[in-house]
Every structure is written in C-alpha cells, then in structure tokens.
C-alpha cells in the first residue's frame, strides 16, 4: 500500500470505502459458506436457510462495489496502483458473489440431504470444506494485507483441494452403485463437493487479483511461474 494519502480527500475516501466493502462482502460470503456446510454436517436446516437468505446481501454489495468502482474510474481517472486496486476490487467482488452463490447451492443441496436419512460418508465433506474455507480466508487476507506472497501459496493448496475433490467424487460414485437407497443423497453430496472445489478456484482468482494489485503483473491462466519467467526476461 502507498504511504502517502491522495491529495483529493474524496478519492482517498472512495478507495478506502471500496476496500472496506470488498472485505465486508468477503466476510458475509465466508459466513454463508460456513452456515451452509455447518447446516449440512450438524443437520441444522435453519443454518442452511440463513445461507440462502444472506446471499442477497452479497448480491447487493457486488452491485454497490461495481457502482463505486465505475464512479471512481469516471471521477478520478485512477492510475497505477489505484487503477489496479479499483479494477481488481471489481473482479474480486464478482468472485465473492460466485462464492456466495456456491454457498447457496450447498445450502439448497444440504436441505435435500437433510430430508433423507443420515449417511456416514457426509463426513468426507468436512476436510474438503476446511481446505476450501482456509483458501478463501487466506485469499481475503492476502487482499486485506496486500500480501502477494500469501496469495501465491493458494495455487498449490488449491491442487490439494482438487485432489480431495476427485477422491470424494470417486467415493460417492461408488456408493451410488453400492447403496442405491441413498443414491439421491450421494448425488447431492457430489454437487456439494463440486461447489466447494469451485470455492477454491474463486479463492485462487482472488489471489491472482491481489498479485496484480501488488506487482502489476497478471498471472491469470498462467500461475505463479509466470512471475519467474518475466523476471528472467
């Protein structure tokens, strides 16, 4: 972050408020995801309903951040780090909105699971959620603290999540054949695992935007190795 304040107080306030709104949005999205998964694991439908209802707040925050971002672009013509921050904040908010959508999807699938008998293998979701939630937490932290190094750790960690995701899908697919009575439950759990895997992907996207803000280099679709390649150039 830049040490000096902007000469225009309005500009400084707008930048600060944009960051604040992104962090608020992240907090709500994290909470929604937590409610949805906890609702599933603890068989608590109220928590699932909360996650579904609270998604609207995230949607509103996304619209507010977009509007503020456009206003900053029009009014203040930001450049350099300011420009990167505004553009990245708008992209991060889009990712957070998708994460909250995934939380809503998890909650809706969880409600269907709760209507059926409990299955022991729902416990596979716990470690996957832990990984996805930690990825999201650190993605948000990297943005909040402008920590590109933390953001760069997300790529490898997401691959661990992908591995667990594949493993769980395989397990649930096998169970669908072996335990036909609970076929619908396993199918819903597969969808939930996929949602959590997508949360990991969106967290990586947020990390990429943090790297862009911090270093001015886009590593989207290339990964952290792109930074080394550019350094060699």
């Amino acid at each position: 972050m830049l040490d000096l304040k902007h000469t225009l107080g309005d500009f400084e306030d707008s930048l600060r408020n944009t960051r604040k709104e992104v962090l608020t949005m992240a907090s709500v999205a994290q909470q929604n995801l937590g409610s949805a998964v906890t609702g599933l694991l603890n068989r608590n439908e109220d928590l699932c309903n909360d996650a579904i209802a609270e998604d609207e707040e995230v949607n509103q925050l996304e619209r507010a951040i977009d509007q503020r971002g456009m206003e900053i672009l029009i009014r203040f013509n930001p450049v350099a780090t300011d420009l990167r921050m505004v553009v990245a904040a708008m992209k991060i908010s889009a990712n957070l909105e998708r994460i909250s959508d995934q939380a809503e999807n998890v909650a809706r699938r969880a409600r269907k699971v709760l209507k059926k008998d409990a299955v022991q293998e729902v416990n596979l979701i716990g470690p996957i959620y832990e990984l996805a939630a930690n990825l999201l937490k650190d993605a948000v932290k990297s943005f909040a603290e402008d920590d590109a190094n933390l953001a760069l750790t997300l790529f490898e960690r997401d691959q661990v999540l992908d591995k667990l995701h594949r493993k769980a899908i395989k397990k649930y697919t096998t169970l669908m054949e072996e335990d036909i009575e609970n076929l619908r439950t396993y199918l819903n759990l597969i969808f939930i695992v996929r949602c959590l895997e997508r949360v990991g992907d969106h967290s990586v996207n947020i990390g990429e935007e943090t790297v862009y803000i911090n270093q001015g280099r886009s590593i989207r679709h290339i990964g952290p190795s792109a930074l080394n390649d550019e350094d060699e150039d």
Partner: protein, 282 residues
C-alpha cells in the same frame, strides 16, 4: 542533418527520410533524438536546471514529458531545437543532444535550419497577424520557395494534415486572428508541418483550449505520428495516456522514469512516479 549549412541539402534529407520510411519496423523505432548525460543551466553553470538526463526519443512515436512545474520538461524540450539560445546565460554544461545522429550544440549547426527540422507548437497559439494562407506559406517563403503552385499545394496539404482545411478552405484570405482558439492552434500545427520537419515539439498544446478543441488536437497528434516524431509536454496526465506511446516523468531536473505509457501509468517502477501520477505529491 540539414541544419549544418554546407553539408546536406533539404532534398537529400527528404530522400533519407523516404528511405528510412521504407525500412522495417525496427528501424522505424530507431531513436531520432538521443540525449546523453545532459546537464543544463540557466545561469552559466552555477546551478543545473537539468541533471544527467539520458533518454532516446523513438522515430514516428509520440513521447510525452510529464512532471510538476519547474521539473525541467519544457527546458529539455527547448534544448532540442536550441530555443534556449535566446537566453544569454543558458548553456548545456555536460552531455549532448543528438538529432538523427548530429550534435545540436555543434557551432556549425544553424539554429534557424534546426528549428525548421524540429518544429515547435506552443502553449498559446501564436498565429502571425496575416491571412490563414500566409501563415502556412510563411515558412516556405522564408525557405526560398517561390513557386505559387507548389506553395498552394503545400498550404492545402498542410491544412488538411492539421484537420483544418474543411473549416478554412473558404476563408484562406481572412485574418488568422479571426479563427477560434482551437483553429488557431491547428493553424500553428499546419504552419509547422508545412516546412516538413522531422520532429514536432509541443509545449502544452491544449492547455488553452476547450475540451472539444482539445479532442481535435489530440486526434491530430495521434495521426501526426505516422509521418513525424512528436514530443509533447503536458500537465494533463489523461492526455499523456491518450496520445503518447512513451512517457518520461521528470522531477527537480532529473529524469525519474521513462517507459511505455501503458506501463508507466499502470505499473510504474519508481515510487516517485507512482506518487506523482496518482496525485500523492506533497
């Protein structure tokens, strides 16, 4: 360089330019102006207004000079065509400026011919109190052109290049002072390009213009790069981002950063640049 009287004629210079135009893109990007370790003083060397400047201005590109007032950007611009010669105590105290390979400080360089090769457009439009036509023809006549048909053709072509022809083609005999501010500035650009310079220097060319006239001049600058090398001093950073290929940031007589405009305005390498362009300058 044609500015050294006895060596090369203007036609030789033109053919050299034509030859260059046919070269590949790499050659087209070659440096037209090379500034090496340049220091400059307004008080016979007691204090240096410019210190150890190094930069190359590429051919057929628009280069913007930005920086706070007093940073030396206009001073450097005026060094290129020796406009500072009019100040008795001004002198280059170290380093050199080469225009197409020739040192402009060489005593054999004729400043008048140099300024024909390196035209200049100023902050405030300064048409002569003559007709529109005579303003554009003035440099040609001074240069010895007597053929009226040739002058007519160049006047028309220059006014077209300056995006002014359609507005003044029926007013060529009217006083240039009757034109609007934006039209006067474009007339000055037409007057500059009529003598076929290699380089056009612009010192805040839009600062006295309204937004519409500014847009027209900015559009003109972007088209001029096809045939000329343009260096523009501006306080308007949005203008620098709109019209220039490269931007140099100056502060307190030093060149802080010089890079592609797209790079400098999105990811500057120096904190001083970042602070200045993002408005954090105390």
């Amino acid at each position: 360089m044609p500015v050294v009287n006895e060596n090369r004629s203007s036609s030789e210079m033109t053919s050299a330019r034509d030859k260059n135009n046919s070269e590949d893109e790499k050659l087209a990007n070659e440096a037209v102006i090379e500034v090496e370790n340049l220091s400059f003083s307004y008080d016979l060397g007691k204090t240096n207004t410019l210190r150890d400047i190094n930069l190359n201005i590429p051919k057929n590109k628009v280069t913007a000079f930005i920086g706070p007032s007093g940073c030396g950007k206009s001073t450097l611009l005026r060094c290129f065509n020796r406009m500072n010669d009019t100040i008795a105590t001004a002198k280059i105290t170290a380093g050199s400026i080469k225009i197409m390979g020739s040192d402009v400080s060489n005593p054999r360089v004729d400043p008048i011919l140099l300024r024909k090769e390196i035209g200049m457009v100023f902050q405030k439009s300064n048409p002569f109190p003559k007709s529109v036509y005579e303003n554009v023809a003035f440099g040609l006549r001074i240069g010895g052109e007597r053929n009226k048909t040739a002058i007519d053709e160049i006047v028309e072509e220059s006014l077209k290049r300056a995006a002014l022809w359609d507005e003044v083609k029926d007013r060529l005999k009217e006083s240039a002072l009757s034109l609007s501010g934006g039209q006067q500035q474009r007339l000055c650009i037409a007057r500059t390009i009529a003598v076929q310079p290699s380089v056009i220097l612009m010192d805040e060319p839009c600062s006295a213009l309204d937004p519409v006239a500014t847009t027209v001049v900015e559009e003109l600058i972007t088209t001029l790069r096809e045939d000329y090398t343009v260096v523009v001093v501006t306080h308007n950073m949005q203008q620098a981002t709109r019209v220039s290929d490269s931007t140099a940031f100056f502060y307190l007589g030093e060149l802080i950063e010089y890079d592609l405009t797209s790079k400098l305005f999105t990811n500057p390498a120096k904190k001083q640049t970042e602070d200045y362009i993002s408005g954090r300058f105390g």
